[in-house]
């Protein structure tokens, strides 16, 4: 059994990625995604709160625009 039948050299090469060089550390830190689950949850909560507030404001505006006789 030849190795070429077991290993696809080209395919195996795709598993290898270039290493991060030391000169690229600063950029990597800057670009690094350090958001954690807590951040995401807080973000979601904030969005929900904002949406809720927006809905409440919209309802208040609609109530003020209704005629007196209808009331």
């Amino acid at each position: 059994m030849e190795v070429n039948t077991l290993i696809n050299f080209e395919e195996e090469l795709t598993h290898f990625k270039p290493s991060l060089e030391i000169s690229e550390v600063k950029d990597a830190i800057d670009k690094s995604e350090i958001t954690d689950m807590n951040d995401i949850l807080m973000d979601i909560l904030r969005k929900e709160v904002k949406e809720q507030e927006a809905k409440e404001q919209k309802q208040d505006v609609q109530q003020e625009s209704v005629p007196e006789d209808i009331k």
């Binding site: 059994m1 190795v3 077991l6 290993i7 050299f9 195996e12 090469l13 598993h15 290898f16 270039p18 290493s19 991060l20 060089e21 030391i22 000169s23 690229e24 550390v25 990597a28 830190i29 690094s32 350090i34 958001t35 954690d36 689950m37 807590n38 951040d39 949850l41």
Partner: protein
């Protein structure tokens, strides 16, 4: 708030899992755990620092620096990452070496991708000489070795990787391929099949050693034969010479002992023979003494009997017989025996005195009678008896000479005549003797 605490707890759990794997040198398994931990809680400093350590260990220094810098940014106080960075800075040139290694690896990867595999292999070889712990470089190098069918070298690189990161999935996969190609996989499978059994053991099951073999009949016979030959050979070459030497030594010592004993016995025998000869001589001497003693006693007894006969003849007044007996008597043999209480010597003296006075005459008369009868021998005998009783009896001496002369023996007669002439010159028989001689 509840969600935050929950995320921290889960993050810690992943960190613990990652730490456990890192301690077991399952570095590639620890990395995702630690990443999960940081995704759940970016403030988990321990997880981040450990992740940096693992990157550093597998040669990804830049990745390690990223983690440690972020860690310090998130927690500036009481952070081990600060210590790690200061250690890196304290070693001059260490960072440059790592940087060059990373740059070269990226170049080598580029070479390999572009089909320039020889140059890639050469570059990677230099990298791993300087940094054998650079996992990515070792993996790419082993892949290139395998492509060039250099399985021994690939195996060596893979072993280095697995020493650092025991569960590196790519390294394990390559190692499997190498083993398949070199036949080691088959041998190990067989070994494992021998080592493990999936059958549940019963109480009476016996585990047979791998060396045990069931032999057929002829093999058993052959083994017994070989055993006998080996046994016989060991007897022949080991036991027998030793035994022979022992027996020889024993026999030699016995021979020496026997020889010494024999020598002693011979000496004793010689002494005994000498002693025997001495004793034999003593016996002979004693026998002679006994014989002579008997003879003496016999002679003494005869003399005593003669003396008894003399006394008896005198009592019967037969002087002639007494004188005849006395003439043959050896008076020196007659001795007193104190125990008898009787003095035989005094008897002898009394008899002697009487016969010396009266006994020679009848004997001379008998001699004359015999002369007259022509019996000169008897006459000479009677004259001798008379001379033994009375040695100075010249008459008897002269008549004896006459008897010799008459019988024809003039020599003896002349001798007696000459004795009479010289011894008794004054006697009348001296003149007669001279006449008879013709003087």
């Amino acid at each position: 708030m509840y969600n935050k605490n929950r995320c921290q707890r889960i993050s810690n759990s992943y960190y613990n899992l990652g730490l456990e794997k890192a301690r077991a040198r399952n570095l590639s398994g620890a990395i995702p755990c630690l990443r999960y931990a940081l995704q759940l809680n970016k403030h988990n400093t321990s997880a981040r620092n450990l992740l940096g350590l693992i990157y550093y260990e597998i040669g990804e220094v830049a990745e390690a620096l990223v983690q440690w810098v972020i860690s310090i940014n998130l927690q500036s106080e009481e952070n081990d990452a600060r210590r790690y960075l200061s250690l890196l800075r304290k070693k001059p040139g260490q960072l440059d070496i790592n940087e060059q290694a990373i740059i070269k690896f990226n170049q080598a990867l580029s070479y390999a991708t572009s089909g320039n595999e020889d140059l890639a292999q050469l570059t990677l070889t230099r990298i791993v000489e300087e940094k054998p712990g650079y996992i990515k470089a070792q993996l790419l190098l082993s892949l290139l070795y395998m492509k060039n069918l250099e399985y021994q070298r690939a195996n060596k690189s893979l072993l280095t990787i697995l020493e650092i990161d025991k569960n590196n999935s790519l390294a394990l996969h390559y190692m499997y391929l190498v083993k398949e190609q070199t036949g080691r996989a088959e041998r190990e499978r067989k070994k494992m099949a021998d080592a493990f059994s999936h059958k549940k053991m019963q109480d009476d099951d016996v585990i047979l050693p791998s060396t045990y073999k069931e032999y057929t009949g002829w093999q058993t016979v052959l083994n017994i034969g070989i055993g006998l030959i080996i046994g016989a050979s060991s007897m022949l070459f080991l036991y027998l010479p030793t035994r022979t030497a022992q027996l020889n030594n024993k026999h030699n010592s016995e021979l020496v002992a026997i020889s010494e004993k024999l020598s002693g016995i011979n000496n004793q025998n010689t002494l005994l023979e000498e002693r025997n000869e001495d004793l034999q001589e003593q016996v002979n001497s004693l026998n002679e003494q006994v014989g002579s003693g008997d003879e003496i006693k016999k002679q003494q007894l005869i003399q005593y009997q003669k003396l008894f006969g003399i006394v008896q003849a005198l009592e019967q007044k037969n002087m002639t017989l007494a004188a005849q007996l006395f003439s043959d008597l050896d008076i020196t043999q007659i001795q007193d025996i104190p125990e008898s209480g009787i003095s035989i010597v005094s008897v002898l003296e009394e008899v002697s005195e009487k016969i010396r006075k009266e006994g020679y005459a009848p004997l001379v008369h008998l001699g004359d009678t015999s002369m007259a009868a022509g019996d000169y021998a008897a006459a000479i005998s009677y004259f001798d008896m008379a001379l033994r009783i009375k040695p100075d009896l010249v008459e008897a001496l002269y008549k004896k000479a006459v008897a010799f002369k008459t019988s024809g023996d003039e020599g003896s007669a002349n001798g007696i005549y000459q004795e009479i002439i010289s011894t008794y010159p004054q006697s009348e028989y001296a003149e007669k003797s001279k006449e008879d001689r013709g003087f």
